[in-house]
């Protein structure tokens, strides 16, 4: 029949779409993996760069990324969580909530390079933190804020009303209920959101371009006011600066593999946890 032929052709086309998508994305991972694995060794992971970035390892670069990510979370998690609790538990349903919600969505859509300029103007220049871990962390923190707020909100909304009411009926105050009942129940969901945003923040380049990153810095960063090398920026810099493109390219392969592995691993955990929670809640 004619309509069955149309169906077969249509379904085949849709099947081609998803295969093509997975194929190309698979190719990216395949190339980065096969090229990067040749460079990775114990020394590569534990030593500092030598000879104008052409030899040695990338240990300080990895540490730099960890500092920046950690700093961003120290700033964004408490703020984001407080915001989500206020929106879910206290705020009346009103125009104010709507405006805040729209602002969260829009903040999530701001291009990352714009966050970088904001960080440059406010943290680096106006507050005089200079190009430093502090400036970079704060900038990345603002970028992570909407992610953490939305994830926490989703987790808080999923807590059933019955257990809140049970707690209130035992004479607990609103705050006690939130602290002892709602937050522990929502914790896995909130953690998932935090882990996802860690994955996102660790891979961001544009926001740290002018606020934290340095192409080369001897040794490990000493304080929160020092410049820092970071994996994503390092890849970019190795490809576009310096005088030994071929040797640098090899190191960039290694860095890309480490970054890709790190981000996929972190996000993988978060996505797995979320999947489990969703099937648990039905």
């Amino acid at each position: 029949m004619k309509k069955d032929i149309a169906q077969n052709i249509g379904f085949f086309l849709l099947f081609t779409c998803i295969i093509t998508t997975l194929f190309f994305l698979g190719i990216i991972i395949y190339f980065i993996f096969t090229l990067g694995i040749q460079v990775i060794s114990w020394n590569f992971l534990t030593q500092s760069p030598r000879n104008a970035m052409t030899e040695g390892g990338v240990a300080p670069v990895i540490v730099g990324t960890l500092y920046l990510t950690l700093g961003a979370m120290v700033f964004a998690v408490p703020l984001g969580l407080a915001c989500a609790i206020y929106l879910c538990e206290y705020s009346p349903k009103s125009i104010v909530v709507n405006i805040i919600r729209i602002s969260i969505n829009n903040l999530a859509g701001v291009p990352s390079v714009v966050f970088g300029l904001f960080g440059l103007a406010v943290f680096v220049n106006f507050l005089n933190f200079g190009v430093s871990i502090l400036s970079g962390s704060l900038t990345l923190g603002i970028l992570a804020l909407p992610l953490i707020i939305s994830a926490s909100q989703e987790a808080l909304v999923a807590v059933p009303h019955s257990i809140r009411e049970a707690s209130l009926s035992l004479g607990a105050s609103k705050w006690e209920t939130i602290k002892r009942i709602v937050l522990p129940t929502a914790l896995p969901g909130i953690l998932t959101g935090v882990i996802l945003s860690i994955g996102r923040v660790a891979g961001e380049t544009a926001p740290i371009l002018f606020t934290a990153a340095a192409f080369y810095k001897r040794g490990y960063p000493k304080s929160i006011f020092s410049e820092v090398m970071a994996l994503p920026y390092h890849i970019y810099a190795l490809m576009t600066e310096g005088t030994h493109p071929d040797k640098q390219k090899a190191i960039a392969y290694g860095c890309s593999l480490i970054l890709l592995f790190l981000v996929l691993f972190i996000s993988g955990i978060a996505i797995y946890l979320r999947q489990r929670q969703r099937s648990y809640h039905g």
Binding site: V113, L117, A121
Partner: protein, 279 residues
């Protein structure tokens, strides 16, 4: 603390206005926006951002040709054809792929796609608008797919059942009932994908080639707005015309994505009301 996100959004806007508007005063708003020459370091400098804006739109338009068929097609497959387990599995994979950092895409574009394109099209450089479009499109595909699939899954079961009841097969149900019902949700997905593509920095900085000329073909290098900001901010002296000009570009970029996001928000709200979901 609840107002922190609003505070930062307004803060970003204020900073961009404060640092960006001086250039409008110096050389005039229209000359800035529609000037065809971007030579910020020449003496005297030219600050016309038309080539940069057109490059952004050009590259984004190219990306749409990649990410819309692939993203929406994949979403339809996941929602309509894949079984429950396959859908769960593939959706997790796609979400995982959405988290690949942009600099990794850019790196891949530089080392693999660039020599490849150079060879098959016989170009003098592989760093072109085409390259940027391909990579950006691929990058936005998981985002588009994920949001479009959500929209499709909101279409009530009863719609499909009614369609089957009058004798339509699955393909007819899909094209005449499900897609129209989820249409605005799918367009939200496309708009958000475009918003992501136009604001993307590292990929275009690495693969678009960087020539600030008005784009005429997909096979030449271009310099989108984000790439200009990222590449030139380091050498622009603070407080100078160039510095203010770059902030003004960021302001325009911010406004474009802001409008995109607001449109997506409005469409998705109407969509939810239409399907009887709470907003």
């Amino acid at each position: 603390m609840a107002f922190s996100s609003l505070f930062f959004l307004v803060g970003i806007m204020l900073v961009l206005f404060k640092e960006g508007t001086p250039i409008f005063k110096d050389i005039g708003f229209f000359k800035f926006l529609f000037g065809a020459k971007w030579y910020p370091t020449y003496e005297p400098p030219d600050f016309g951002i038309l080539p940069l804006v057109l490059a952004s739109l050009w590259v984004t338009a190219g990306a749409v040709f990649v990410c819309v068929p692939l993203g929406v097609g994949s979403a339809l497959y996941l929602n309509e054809i894949a079984g429950f387990r396959q859908r769960q599995f593939l959706k997790s994979i796609i979400e995982l792929l959405a988290s690949i950092p942009s600099v990794v895409y850019g790196f891949f574009g530089m080392v693999i796609v660039t020599p490849f394109l150079q060879k098959i099209f016989n170009l003098s450089t592989g760093l072109t608008a085409l390259n940027a479009s391909l990579i950006l499109g691929l990058m936005a595909t998981p985002t588009v797919c994920s949001i479009a699939e959500d929209a499709l899954s909101y279409v009530p079961r009863s719609f499909r059942e009614a369609s089957f009841a009058v004798g339509a097969n699955r393909w007819q149900t899909l094209t005449r009932v499900v897609i129209p019902a989820a249409g605005s949700g799918i367009s939200t997905a496309i708009i958000l994908g475009m918003s992501r593509a136009i604001g993307e920095t590292m990929t275009v900085l690495m693969v678009a080639g960087g020539a600030a000329v008005i784009p005429k073909t997909f096979f030449g290098p271009v310099r989108p707005m984000t790439a200009a900001i990222a590449a030139e901010m380091g050498e622009a002296p603070m407080g100078g015309d160039h510095y203010h000009a770059l902030f003004a570009i960021a302001l325009i970029l911010f406004l474009i994505t802001f409008v995109f996001n607001i449109i997506a928000e409005i469409i998705s709200r109407r969509f939810r009301i239409k399907l009887g979901l709470s907003g």
